[in-house]
């Protein structure tokens, strides 16, 4: 089970480099300076984590998808802040505040993910319906708890450092994202759980017949999606110093875009973490490039849509066979 470089991976790596080079040529050296690289890296985790969640859900098959990710991310931040607002003073004990913030947010993510997992694995809801319902529910709770307004955290040193400060040149939140990706990749590849999840997504019936505990795996998978969402929630809170119910309301779709671009199969059974990471970074670099070039944001969305359709069209496309045919 050694590291494989497949077509998708090679392609995404090329795209990353190509966009970086294009940036260097079109914008100038400032696009490639360390500050911008760090700035772009810092922006990746929020979406990257949500996309990892979408990937897990998609891998599990049966139309798996998690529409509730960003809603749960926001809810985690909101609840963590509301709980701590009156109990821990961020000015007196910033470190305690930050850690408890993260802890509570993770707990909310865990519970939210377990709710999704329960609905899908035991109550037997289709993932779309379950996560659609919980998306509205989580968002609704966040609105209800905050009356719809943003809550400012103020400047909390450790949290802010986590969101924005590079350590050894790498933004902490990006490092965390990479660490999580690494662990997730390892779990998918080298653990019985991961292998079972991939097999389950490939053929649910065969998996059940082979003794794979379908319910348990689905439950754990969606729970993991919830936890990933709450980590995204922590990153968001750290980077914006605030929590709000509708932060990133366009993220649901972009996370799906990242996953599909990464070659995750929407029908289940296949997906690679490294591809999702590269897909997220290439999208971020492209997005930053557009911003540097003052290209309208509407146009950027247009590009995303076209990109998604193009990836769908070419994913079934077999380059090798094509070349073979070309050569005769």
């Amino acid at each position: 089970m050694e590291f494989r470089v497949d077509r998708q991976l090679a392609f995404l790596a090329v795209v990353n480099v190509a966009v970086l080079v294009a940036g260097g040529v079109l914008v100038g050296a400032s696009f490639l300076d360390i500050y911008n690289l760090q700035s772009m890296a810092g922006q990746v985790p929020e979406l990257g984590l949500l996309a990892l969640g979408v990937m897990l859900a998609m891998i599990s098959g049966n139309g798996g998808i998690d529409l509730s990710g960003i809603a749960l991310a926001n809810l985690s931040g909101v609840i963590a802040y509301l709980v701590l607002r009156d109990t821990v003073s961020p000015d007196d004990a910033p470190l305690l505040f930050s850690w408890s913030f993260a802890g509570i947010a993770l707990l909310v993510g865990l519970v939210g993910g377990m709710l999704n997992g329960f609905l899908i694995s035991s109550a037997g809801l289709t993932p779309i319906i379950a996560t659609l319902g919980t998306q509205l529910f989580f968002t609704g709770l966040a609105i209800a708890f905050t009356n719809g307004s943003a809550l400012g955290l103020g400047f909390i040193e450790p949290l802010d450092a986590f969101g924005n400060t590079p350590v050894l040149g790498v933004p902490l939140c990006f490092a965390l994202f990479l660490l999580i990706a690494l662990i997730l990749g390892g779990v998918l590849r080298y653990s019985p759980f991961g292998l079972r999840l991939l097999l389950l997504g490939n053929n649910a019936k065969a998996a059940r017949y082979a003794g794979i505990a379908e319910k348990r795996i689905l439950f754990l998978t969606y729970t993991a999606c919830g936890v990933l969402a709450s980590v995204a929630g922590i990153v968001i809170a750290a980077r914006t110093s605030s929590v709000k119910w509708d932060y990133g309301n366009s993220y649901v779709l972009i996370a799906i875009l990242i996953a599909v671009m990464a070659g995750v199969r929407p029908e289940g059974g296949y997906g690679r973490v490294i591809c999702v990471v590269l897909s997220a970074t290439s999208l971020q670099i492209l997005s930053s490039l557009f911003n540097f070039m003052d290209i309208s944001n509407f146009f950027r969305d247009l590009a995303w849509g076209v990109l998604l359709l193009v990836f769908l069209a070419t994913s079934g496309f077999d380059a090798k066979a094509w070349f073979k045919a070309l050569r005769g």
């Binding site: 079972r196 991939l198 065969a206 017949y209 082979a210």
Partner: protein, 528 residues
């Protein structure tokens, strides 16, 4: 006996080609799926009012041929002529419009539509020549449905007409599919194994229907494995082997042995694989196992080293019984004891923990992870045992285990990292058996172990089964293939309507007797 009739050679059984133009003529039709040449150039003609039996081993291309005739799949090469005129690319609607009606092997009923719609809709679709922007004539649809249902002795009440078909039992669905085929003015009715789900009585009724159709000048094309049934219906036999037509003859003129020879290219070796069984202590005790609406009060026991066969019609409960023993669809009541311990499984994992391996009926949809490596397909039940440091999978051990399994079962593959879909049917089946051998099972349940597997592979698989039994494993074989049961088992249980009605000692049992027990309405002998 030597092979007399090569492909393309003039068929036996005398003259059939008359001066008249046949209704349907198939000329040199070819079809390939990836690397498989399913049809290698098949020609024959269908005359009005004639009955044909398309015969051949699993995978020889029968279903593919009828899919091409009915427009469900295009041929790669060759020609179809209807009334002497070439029809070019035949779509399902065009085939229906030309009077070709098909009863598919899987019935092809729309699960969420009503009985009336399933029976009466196609006629309207054909009348509109496939155009969908047409009004639906509800009255006519009902009339059509009522008439067709009455012809197959199904009720025509309003309640029944409006039932969804996925709420009906198998036999009823089969009859509905037949009703649909005869609902409109067909000129050729194709039936792909229409009797597997039917009782003797219903089969007799079907034969009446077929005779009526024939009298009206309608041609009927059966696809079937049941030689006795074919003989009792009569008509012409079209025999295929390995994608080619090898013979065509009047079915009455030839013995079963001859037909069998043409189908397999070998003298049918009916010799038993089973010899000198050595039974050990008691292994399995099934005690009053019941599942609502499917089977009731099934009890039997077997010993180590014993091979037990179970057979019955499609909804006799044999499939569900197998699934209950494997924990896939647990029974409501009753007990299963293995080595004296109660192991009644609630889910497949329970059965696996107890040492029961289950090779399911449909290897593609229930057994294999087609795009995944052979290795993963084999080691899946023992992943937990392959953990190394930090709970990480030990790749080397896993690979070694898969390789050993592949060698042991003679799976032909260069690398266990290849996806299992790169294997042929017989090899895929051996991978599945290999999967269960990794858990060192005490009991192996094989559900249709050689469906879609050719003769050579069958032989290998049978030898493996015998070896496993000799090593002290208990084996249960659930199968339609009576010969397979007779060749391999020590005992054969026949199920009807959810009950085990007879149990035979396989040794010296006649296939004829077994067949009669299978389709008989009532029990004549008491179980042994």
């Amino acid at each position: 006996m030597q092979l007399k009739h090569e492909a393309g050679a003039p068929h036996p059984g005398g003259e059939t080609s008359k001066a008249a133009i046949p209704y349907l003529e198939i000329r040199d039709v070819q079809k390939r799926f990836g690397g498989v040449r399913a049809l290698k150039g098949v020609s024959f003609s269908i005359e009005p009012g004639q009955i044909y039996h398309l015969m051949g081993e699993n995978g020889c291309g029968k279903s593919t041929l009828i899919k091409i005739i009915s427009g469900a799949q295009p041929a790669d090469a060759g020609e179809l002529l209807i009334d002497g005129k070439p029809v070019g690319h035949l779509t399902p609607v065009a085939a229906l419009a030309a009077g070709i009606e098909t009863v598919y092997q899987d019935f092809s009923l729309l699960p969420n539509l009503s009985v009336a719609e399933n029976v009466g809709l196609t006629q309207q679709l054909v009348a509109a020549s496939g155009k969908l922007a047409r009004r639906l004539d509800l009255g006519r649809m009902r009339q059509t449905a009522e008439r067709a249902l009455a012809a197959v002795n199904l009720p025509t009440t309003r309640a029944f007409l409006s039932t969804r078909t996925d709420e009906l039992p198998m036999a009823t669905r089969q009859l509905i599919a037949i009703a649909r085929a005869i609902a409109s003015d067909a000129r050729l009715v194709i039936m792909d194994e229409p009797t597997t789900a039917l009782t003797k009585h219903e089969v007799d009724n079907l034969i009446c229907i077929v005779n009526r159709l024939r009298a009206k000048g309608v041609a009927v094309l059966f696809v079937t494995h049941k030689l006795d049934e074919c003989k009792s219906i009569g008509g012409r036999a079209v025999i295929m082997r390995d994608g080619q037509k090898v013979a065509e003859c009047d079915i009455a003129d030839h013995t079963k042995a001859e037909l069998g020879f043409w189908m397999t290219g070998k003298v049918l070796d009916e010799a038993r694989y089973r010899s000198a069984p050595k039974f050990g202590e008691d292994l399995l005790v099934v005690d009053a196992l019941s599942l609502k609406d499917t089977f009731a009060n099934v009890s039997f026991s077997m010993r180590r080293g014993e091979i037990v066969g179970i057979t019955g019609l499609l909804d006799s409960g044999r499939n569900e019984l197998a699934r209950a023993i494997a924990g896939v669809a647990p029974a409501d009541t009753g007990r299963i004891r293995l080595n004296g311990k109660d192991v009644t499984p609630r889910k497949p994992a329970d059965a696996i923990d107890a040492g029961i391996g289950y090779v399911p009926e449909d290897r593609l949809s229930e057994g294999l992870f087609l795009e995944k490596p052979i290795e993963e397909n084999i080691v899946v039940p023992v992943l937990d045992r392959l953990r190394g440091a930090f709970g990480i999978l030990d790749g080397r051990r896993s690979r070694a285990l898969a390789k050993r399994s592949v060698e042991d079962l003679q799976v032909v593959t260069p690398d266990v990292a290849n996806p299992v879909q790169s294997l042929s049917g017989g090899n895929q089946q051996r991978v599945l058996i290999g999967r269960w051998l990794t858990i060192n099972p005490k009991l192996l349940v094989l559900h249709g172990p050689t469906v879609g597997v050719d003769v050579g592979s069958k032989d290998t698989i049978y030898r493996i089964i015998q070896r496993l039994a000799d090593e002290g494993m208990g084996v249960i074989i659930i199968s339609d293939d009576l010969l397979e049961l007779l060749q391999n088992c020590d005992r054969i249980m026949v199920m009807r309507k959810g009950e085990v009605v007879e149990t035979f000692q396989a040794e010296a049992l006649e296939e004829e007797a077994l067949y009669r027990a299978l389709v008989e309405e009532t029990t004549v002998r008491t179980p042994q």
